[in-house]
Amino acid sequence: MHSGENRLGALPSRLPRGADEGAEPQPGDSLPDAAAGPLVRPYTMTGGRTRPGSIELDLISVVVAARQHVEQGTLEPEHEAILQLCRRPLSVAEISAHLDIPLTVIKVLLGDLISRGAVLARAPLPTAQPPQMNVLQAVLDGIRRL
């Protein structure tokens, strides 16, 4: 009944103002869970590990393959695939997307490569600090140039 009014009438209000309609309906709730993808057990290729050792990597940590040679025999195919990909700097998220391997797994595999010196990582901005003004200015200029 009242859902019809919402379309052309007053917008629902975020902050509580007595009426609670509009607070509860969440279209996302009706979506089938299948939208989230199948259940997987991706840790076979990491030997059951779910954490990348002591190396802190997040979604946008940028990594690049080091130029030094790593004995190929000691690497898993997934490690080699990562090394191939990150001959140029790439983020953890991009590597995960390109190889179609979940982020958590990529972080573990990258941790292996970093600890061997085969991959170098640059951490993102420290989260506790606001971004530097010069970085913001560069971002602003870069977007304007698009």
Partner: protein, 199 residues
């Protein structure tokens, strides 16, 4: 130890600094469309895997049948310069993936909340989240064909944000419009340059 990561190797690699902006909003509000409008790559999709343990149940150590579930994240990339890369991350539209927002928000420059006036309430959670976390954000009202055109004032009233939060009308399909949204956000961040609230 002697050969691993010698300064010669490390010194020759230029690893750019990565920064990110979040694009939030309800399911179907146009997040991936906006990312695609400005990204230099076709938006990519990656998956984060959730184990039961990382949902906060720590007693499962040693239990063999750990179930996991995956959350898809869409993102795009803009190379700012040799030294800086900007990533645009769409937030998961479903509330049950709320946990992902914490990691996404960490270190983010700011956020765009895409509002769909046909179901405005679907962006309220995002506004709540960014307000609480102290993440600077702007609200972009994505114009959908056939949707009633509300004024900025009406949208501001409904969402209940102060005058300091920019609200602008946008078309997520348009590169120029998407650029305007991002420029408004970065300018907003620069003028309200206060330390981000952590934890």
């Amino acid at each position: 130890m002697a050969s691993v990561g010698s300064e010669e190797e490390a010194g020759t690699e230029v690893i750019p600094l990565a920064v990110k902006i979040l694009i939030a909003g309800g399911f179907g509000a146009g997040k991936t469309t906006l990312v695609g409008s400005v990204s230099e790559i076709t938006p990519l999709s990656t998956e984060e895997v959730m184990t039961e343990a990382s949902l906060g149940i720590d007693d499962l150590n040693g239990v063999e049948e750990k179930t996991t579930t995956t959350v898809a994240l869409d993102f795009g990339r803009i190379t700012i310069s040799d030294g800086v890369v900007l990533y645009l991350f769409g937030t998961p539209g479903q509330d049950r993936f709320w946990f992902m927002w914490e990691e996404l928000a960490q270190g983010a420059l700011g956020a765009v909340v895409l509002a769909d006036t046909r179901r405005l309430e679907t962006c309220f959670h995002a506004v709540d989240f960014f307000e609480r976390r102290g993440v600077p954000f702007v609200i972009a009202v994505n114009r959908f064909d056939g949707a009633h055109a509300y004024t900025e004032h009406e949208v501001r009233e409904a969402i209940g944000t102060g005058p300091d939060v920019p609200i602008l009308m946008a078309d997520a399909r348009s590169r120029e419009s998407a650029k305007d949204v991002l420029i408004t956000l970065v300018e907003h961040v620069m003028t309200h340059h206060t330390p981000a609230v952590t934890g």
